[in-house]
């Protein structure tokens, strides 16, 4: 159905965008200040001392406190009410216009991967530049048909606002521009808007960190500050040592299928069936359940490698799901 309506853009149309810079680089408005670090770690609940205590940081071989790596993108953001300077040179404008014209009018952020290559320290200025890495061929997914667009932001740090700076990290950001699938069989009318919402998780003081994590594109798992044991599902205390002090760590999102179900009945209108849901051994050593909505039941098996993906479910809720790792499909 959508295949005829939305044949997708050709490689000739898409290839010129790969490698293009998304406009001039952007510098942080101020150098990194310890007070900004404190506000952020208080809000996130990160208690790692190397962000606030020189001695603790020096014990790790550094020369002073460092900025939390996960703040990478924070420094050069435009700020509340500010607009990131949209420039006429940004080739994404042209790309998005092409995609809109081809019917791919919806957008969802699917992945955000950060790579940490060096430390930023108080006093550093952070400069960000972004390039389009790739635009995929047209793909069919559970959401509908569309193209994936991957951009890479590079972050440099320098004590001199005019200096060249040292590369401290990269962020790979993937968007899916798509034409939403019509739900219902037999060509019946009715888009996603007719669909009742999925069950919402009950969020409380013990598990809120997880859903804050998915909003930031991270699969965060609790880690005991005292003995280092990871634990899931969340708990206010560590069963191994009874400590109530904990932090969270972002998982890689990679793992293998420990078990899975394929749901057929009853059919809750918010989901598509048959629905594969997997119990995954994350490579860090905890297990985690999430659906695999885009995976065919014939392709799933115990032991296969999977990777996490994220999907915005409601304005304030992003949920993880798994896909088979590339190269693992049968």
């Amino acid at each position: 159905m959508s295949q005829d309506e939305h044949p997708g853009l050709t490689r000739e149309q898409l290839d010129p965008f790969a490698g293009k810079s998304c406009g001039p680089s952007r510098q942080s408005r101020d150098p990194i200040a310890p007070s900004d670090i404190r506000s952020w770690i208080d809000a996130i609940g990160d208690t790692n001392p190397i962000y606030v205590d020189d001695d603790a940081s020096m014990a790790t071989g550094r020369s002073s406190v460092i900025a939390p790596p996960a703040m990478l993108q924070v420094w050069s953001m435009a700020g509340l009410g500010g607009t990131s300077k949209s420039t006429t040179q940004d080739p994404r404008k042209e790309l998005f216009a092409l995609l809109d014209d081809a019917g791919f009018t919806s957008v969802v952020a699917t992945n955000c991967e950060q790579e940490y290559l060096g430390d930023a320290v108080p006093g550093d200025w952070i400069t960000t530049s972004e390039v389009i890495e790739s635009v995929s061929d047209v793909k069919d997914t559970g959401l509908g048909r569309g193209h994936f667009i991957t951009t890479v932001m590079s972050f440099t740090a320098s004590p001199d606002p005019l200096g060249d700076g040292e590369l401290i990290g990269r962020q790979r950001w993937r968007l899916f521009r798509f034409a939403p699938k019509n739900r219902g069989s037999g060509g019946q009318a009715g888009g996603d808007s007719d669909r009742p919402p999925r069950p919402r998780p009950a969020i409380n003081r013990d598990n809120a960190f997880f859903f804050e994590g998915t909003l930031a594109g991270e699969l965060r798992i609790q880690k005991c500050d005292s003995c280092g044991t990871l634990r899931h599902p969340p708990s206010p205390a560590c069963g191994a040592c009874q400590s109530f002090d904990w932090s969270t760590v972002a998982m890689s999102g990679r793992g293998t299928i420990h078990s899975f179900v394929v749901n057929h009945h009853p059919q809750v209108p918010a989901f598509d069936y048959p629905l594969v849901v997997a119990l995954v051994d994350l490579e860090e050593g905890v297990r985690f359940v999430a659906e695999m909505p885009d995976t065919d039941r014939e392709d799933v098996a115990i032991g296969l490698p999977v990777e996490v993906r994220y999907r915005k479910q409601e304005d304030d809720l992003v949920m993880p799901h798994f896909v088979l790792a590339e190269g693992s499909s049968q």
Partner: protein
């Protein structure tokens, strides 16, 4: 070791009919089944001074007592975790009686679970009020795992992977239950046996579970009367002595989602229950000629046979073959038809069948039953019983 062994007995059992639409209120089902159990025991509502039921029960003790004109109630307690409770309510009652806190304790469970609120329909509409219980569902319901069958299927898949149990092994459990139900006039599936082929061809519910791997949804009520063994000897029925009653939560135990232990196909809480039962009753699997094994989903019957040592780990798939768990086999299980064949009353109807096997009054009576095992729901915090003949 428990000091409870042999001190108390089940002196009365009573139930409503089991159906898909009772046509009356849940409270009426509770009152009818409690009254039937008291009549069976030769007692009256005025004799009752203790009431025990499930946390999930919707009929308050006050309303059951008022409906039947009970007098002063000096002990009432509830047990959490759904189908895990049938042995546990008996344990609570036995402890109350053995300690003198109460003399006549009635355990009851009654619901319109088919015509009213169906457990099988799922918990997708569960609230988001921030309790620990609701937060626990946050890891499942948003991903579409909303029903008991779906929770169970995750564990079942891994168990089958590790043990090599196939659909045929699950089918053997279903066939046995339906064979026994076929000759039990109280069973919903009376005169409706199935074959292994029927099982294998039944539709998927949540792979690897098919329709015929799943218990029914039923309307009905079941009650039990617990008194001291001494008093039971003076009442009309042959006592079913409570030789052992035990509960279990082990480190990895959860409410249907014990997905995080080393070996999720090994029911650690049921093994904990089994070990206590064997020790307290001073019995072993060889002493048990028939058993009631909680059968919400067929794979859990296989796992429980291993927990109790009726066969070795991973060997249940062979143990259930060739009619070995049917009448005439080494260990006929669920001779009333189980929850697959008779009715799903959260395991309470299984306790009643255990009592009948001890009395010698079951429709599918096994010869010379001196002792029997009754288990609670598996894959949840659970419980179990060993009932035996007096003397």
């Amino acid at each position: 070791m428990s000091m409870l062994s042999g001190k108390t007995a089940i002196a009365g059992i009573g139930a409503t009919e089991f159906s898909k639409d009772s046509g009356r209120s849940e409270l009426q089902l509770a009152a009818e089944s409690v009254l039937a159990a008291l009549n069976d025991a030769g007692l009256t509502p005025a004799d009752v001074d203790g009431l025990v039921t499930y946390t999930m029960e919707k009929n308050p003790e006050t309303e059951v007592a008022r409906a039947l004109g009970m007098g002063n109630i000096t002990y009432f307690g509830r047990v959490n975790f759904g189908g895990g409770a049938p042995g546990a309510v008996v344990l609570q009652a036995a402890m109350a009686v053995a300690t003198g806190v109460a003399d006549v304790v009635v355990c009851y469970r009654a619901f319109n679970e088919r015509s009213g609120r169906r457990f099988g329909a799922g918990v997708q509409d569960r609230g988001t009020e921030p309790s620990a219980e609701n937060a626990g569902y946050a890891w499942y319901t948003p991903h579409g795992i909303v029903t008991p069958a779906q929770w169970a299927a995750m564990t079942a898949r891994r168990y089958m992977h590790d043990s090599g149990a196939t659909t045929e092994a699950l089918g053997a459990v279903a066939v046995a239950a339906r064979r026994h139900a076929a000759t039990n006039p109280k069973a919903w599936f009376y005169e409706r046996p199935i074959t292994l082929a029927d099982h294998a061809e039944s539709r998927w519910i949540a792979e690897p579970l098919r329709l015929l791997d799943c218990c029914q949804e039923s309307d009905g009520g079941q009650a039990l009367v617990i008194v001291s063994a001494e008093r039971a000897r003076d009442l009309p029925q042959k006592p079913a002595i409570i030789k052992a009653a035990a509960q279990g939560i082990a480190a990895p135990t959860a409410m249907m989602t014990a997905y995080y232990g080393d070996d999720i196909g090994h029911l650690e809480e049921m093994t904990l229950v089994a070990d206590q039962l064997w020790a307290d009753a001073q019995l072993s699997p060889a002493d048990i000629p028939t058993a009631i094994i909680y059968d919400h989903f067929t794979p859990y019957v296989l796992m429980q046979l291993e927990s109790f040592g009726f066969c070795g780990r991973g060997e249940a798939k062979d143990f259930v073959r060739d009619g070995n768990v049917e009448l005439g086999g080494r260990l006929p299980i669920n001779t009333h038809g189980g929850q697959l064949g008779e009715a799903y009353i959260h395991g309470m109807n299984g306790v009643a069948e255990g009592v009948r096997q001890i009395r010698g009054t079951a429709v599918n009576q096994v010869a010379n039953v001196e002792n029997t095992v009754v288990t609670g729901g598996a894959g949840v915090p659970t419980s179990g019983l060993i009932l035996g003949a007096d003397g």
